[in-house]
Subunit: 191 residues, 2 copies
């Protein structure tokens, strides 16, 4: 069964992080839908790159979603934190046992939904005190139950490959590492 992943895009999203997540998951055969929180025409990244989202967050049926992945970047991650539609989606996906994942500034956007309470997490340095969580780890990717967090554009590839590992298994990760000539795929820290 094809896995469905939603990647929300709010103005100010970090482009390397968003695109690495989407591209790598699609290479793995995952059904990735980008969902804009603002204008349906284009969402502007933190470095001025305009991406046209596949749909808006209002159209997402949480019942069909296996994983939500939040890219970082500011103010995008702040918008994800404050948007009630985003928090409802996270709660609904988590309640069904789905994955909730975020990188860079965006782990804070997992906070209001309650999914990080008591969980080991990481984030971009300095963002750890902005949300409720368990142990904070200076690891590049942290997996704790169905919550996966990571740190920065420089960890985006490792983060995306960890998502593929969970959805598709290590064989698919191995194929992607070979075909994309990834220099290393450090194993994620498993809490």
């Amino acid at each position: 069964m094809t896995k469905k992943v939603v990647v929300p895009l709010a103005d100010g999203f970090e482009e390397i992080e968003a695109v690495t997540i989407i591209d790598v998951l699609r290479r793995a055969g995952v059904d990735v839908v980008t969902a804009g929180l603002g204008s349906p025409e284009a969402t502007r990244g933190a470095h001025g790159i305009d991406v046209v989202p596949d749909t808006t967050i209002d159209t997402i049926d949480a019942g069909a979603v296996h994983m939500v992945v939040l890219p970082g970047g500011m103010p995008g991650a702040a918008t994800l934190t404050e948007d009630p539609r985003m928090q409802e989606l996270l709660k609904a996906v988590a309640a069904r046992g789905g994955w909730t994942c975020a990188i860079c500034a965006a782990p804070m956007a997992l906070g209001p939904s309650g999914v990080t309470a008591g969980k080991s997490v990481t984030s971009y340095p300095g963002f750890g005190d902005r949300f409720d969580h368990g142990p904070y780890l200076d690891e590049r990717v942290v997996v704790d139950g169905s919550v996966i967090t990571s740190r920065s554009p420089g960890t985006a590839m490792e983060f995306a490959l960890t998502l593929v590992d969970k959805l598709c298994g290590p064989e698919v990760v191995g194929e992607l590492v070979a075909s994309m000539l990834v220099d290393r795929a450090a194993p994620a820290y498993e809490a």
Copy 2:
């Protein structure tokens, strides 16, 4: 003086490569302009991500350009190879001593302009016999004079940091490696 870089976008461009180049160069303070070869509304990447280019290639004044960087992806790289506007821009920038750079499938698109003749290059494996060049090297990033080539999405960060090194110097590279938490920045192979 701010350096000006053009990143052409043709349908089928590789998204991780294009966005890593644009994002990293803009973080370094470089004036990056994305120039679409097709519709001005959006260019569709090889993995279905629609990016709105800043302008079209017809508006580019080669006299103001320090560097052209071609992202890979198919059929994007084939379009870059065949488009006469693209080849004229490469010739004009090279004639003024500017940089001509490409990654993945796109080093072949440097070929028709003549800039790779006799130069050491690399590319995505299997694309080395599609254009005229000097020694072919299985290195992740190759610099030969003002021609810089690289291999894949997995080498995009190293490639982008090499471009920053040439335009802005190693100090700026060091700042970006630290702020983006890049795991390693292998030095490029200098022919």
